[in-house]
Amino acid sequence: MMTRVFAIMLAGLFGTVATVHAQQGPLRIEITEGVIEPLPFAVPNFVAENAAAQEFAANMSRVVATNLASTGLFREVPQQSYISQLTDFAAPVAYPDWRAINTQALIAGAVSVSGDSVSVKFRLYDVTTGAELGQGLALNGTTAGWRRMAHKVSDAVYSRITGETGYFDTRVVFVSESGGKGDRQKRLAIMDQDGANVQFLTDSSALVLAPRFSPTGDRVLYTSYETGFPKIYVLDVGSVQKRVLQSEAGTMSFAPRFSPDGQRVVYSLASSGNTDLYSMDINTGSSIRLTSAPSIETAPSYSPDGSQIVFESDRSGSPQLYIMNASGGEARRISSGDGRYGTPVWSPRGDLVAFTKQNKGRFHIGVMRTDGSRERLITASFLDEGPTWAPNGRVLMFHRETQGASGRSTLYSVDVTGRALRPVRTPDGGSDPAWGPLQ
């Protein structure tokens, strides 16, 4: 039964839910670890309800198709093979025409534009059973925000078919890289998850590293060499105002991450040849020390409930993954395979830790359970590093650097099962992605 109400806010405007009832069909993808046959879908160009909507209708339907195909769970039936066209949103669907070309899911949409306002409505049809899946949905927004509306339609379709929360209407903060390996310029940038709408948050006058979103996506933690020394900063995404969080002379700080409630920042502080973990109250600025070993402790990441921290330490002689209470204390090692482990990131679902692994001259992105069992490597290359989870815990983004003097860093996304590995196109090179929340 599909009774979910999509309460959607769009840039100060609100969406309305159409009241078209439908029965739940068997159209369903269970995301498991097994290889699945992608579900064939068709997205005819959305119907333009007035002349001004023509371009938006075509573009929005393309964004929806690209989003769905990018997951590897769906496969688009080419528009050239269509037997019938959708020219009227209200007309009955000619199911046999869609079955004949092996379509299982049909997404129909209609767009109207008035001034700088856009309305889009869509319906999802289960072609096999000949029934609508879920309710029709209508969204209102601005012409400038048309991609977000297409992402919301995509999220609704994805969610109805997989039973998982979507992740298309999300943003990613990352480091935009230009210049050669010996003279690399880095700036903080933010973009939609599909690489569109890149905006720069800093200039390249100071080296910046590893931005991390706050839980609500309004702030970004990062490391900057603005003073000549690495220090952690917090930046307001809206105003682009920034302030240093840790400025004790003679020390360096890096690898910051927010706690799930957004109130604390866990980070590494290096002083006198030793790097340990600290946790700061972001409002008062007061810090507590979480580790005090002579080894390197870095790359901390909170569990979704905020009670534990997974981190990287070389206390055993090589970098490995450990979990401890968020207030510090005894840590237990969870990584046990060959090689070196780093940059652990706790899944938003709580079940897995994603990490970077280096073994026999290769780098991998992998996942393991939080007790260290069921390790699975899902990528391999000369240098894969720094995974970040989509908010639904089903997709990872990371960066891949190519070898040699002309080496360049590119963002990639991959399904947690290892399917659908693909580059995320950015204007320049990209590294250190961090996925923000569903908007």
């Binding site: 050669g180 390996k181 010996g182 003279d183 690399r184 080296l207 590293l209 590893a210 000549g228 020394f229 690495p230 002379a249 003679g250 360096m252 890096f254 690898a255 590494s268 290096a270 006198s272 040849g273 030793n274 790097t275 390197i296 870095t298 790359a299 990287e312 070389d314 090589s318 970098p319 070196r340 780093g342 940059t343 970077t356 280096q358 000369f382 240098l383 590093e385 720094g386 650097e401 070898q403 040699g404 003097a405 080496g407 250190d432």
Partner: protein, 170 residues
């Protein structure tokens, strides 16, 4: 300890060739092409009080093995020379940059670079240099000196570089 300075100009040309990034952090801003006259040109590599002389004749860097931050015997010789030079050129301060090769994650390499820079600093302090003349900074794997992806370059990138400045540090 005395360092023998031989074949100054030959060594200097060699050192320049070996350095891919002379204009980067720590570049001394001295126009090397201005040399050539017989006398000592202030600031040039044959002025023993100059940054250029320090870089090319004393040696501004020590190298480390994989994941290690212990100063090896060769590195100790270089740091002994740096200490002597700093003891006789007291108007200079230094920032010691710690670097790592690209094998390893960004965060780990930042921590490792700090360890290496601190190891070099501790050694210099043990040879009588005042701690307040020596700051450290880590660049992790962000600023390779050599940019190939083989051990030939990695071995030169795992380094601590003593970058001189005139003036007082905080």
């Amino acid at each position: 300890m005395n360092i023998t300075f031989k074949a100054v100009m030959v060594v200097s040309a060699f050192a320049l060739a070996a350095c891919n990034n002379p204009a980067r952090l720590g570049g001394n801003g001295v126009d090397q092409s201005a040399g050539g006259a017989a006398g000592v040109i202030p600031g040039s590599a044959n002025d023993p009080t100059s940054i250029a002389f320090f870089q090319q004749n004393v040696g501004d860097r020590v190298l480390f093995t994989v994941d290690q931050s212990t100063v090896n015997p060769e590195g100790q010789v270089v740091l002994d020379g740096q200490a002597n030079w700093l003891l006789s050129n007291t108007s200079y301060t230094a920032v010691i940059e710690g670097h790592a090769d690209e094998q390893g994650t960004r965060e780990y390499n930042l921590a490792l670079g700090e360890r290496r820079a601190n190891a070099a600093r501790d050694y210099l302090i043990s040879k009588g240099i005042a701690g307040n003349r020596l700051q450290i900074v880590t660049f992790g794997k962000e600023r390779p000196a050599e940019i190939c992806s083989t051990e030939a370059c990695y071995s030169k990138n795992r380094r601590a570089v003593t970058v001189l400045a005139t003036g007082v540090t905080g």
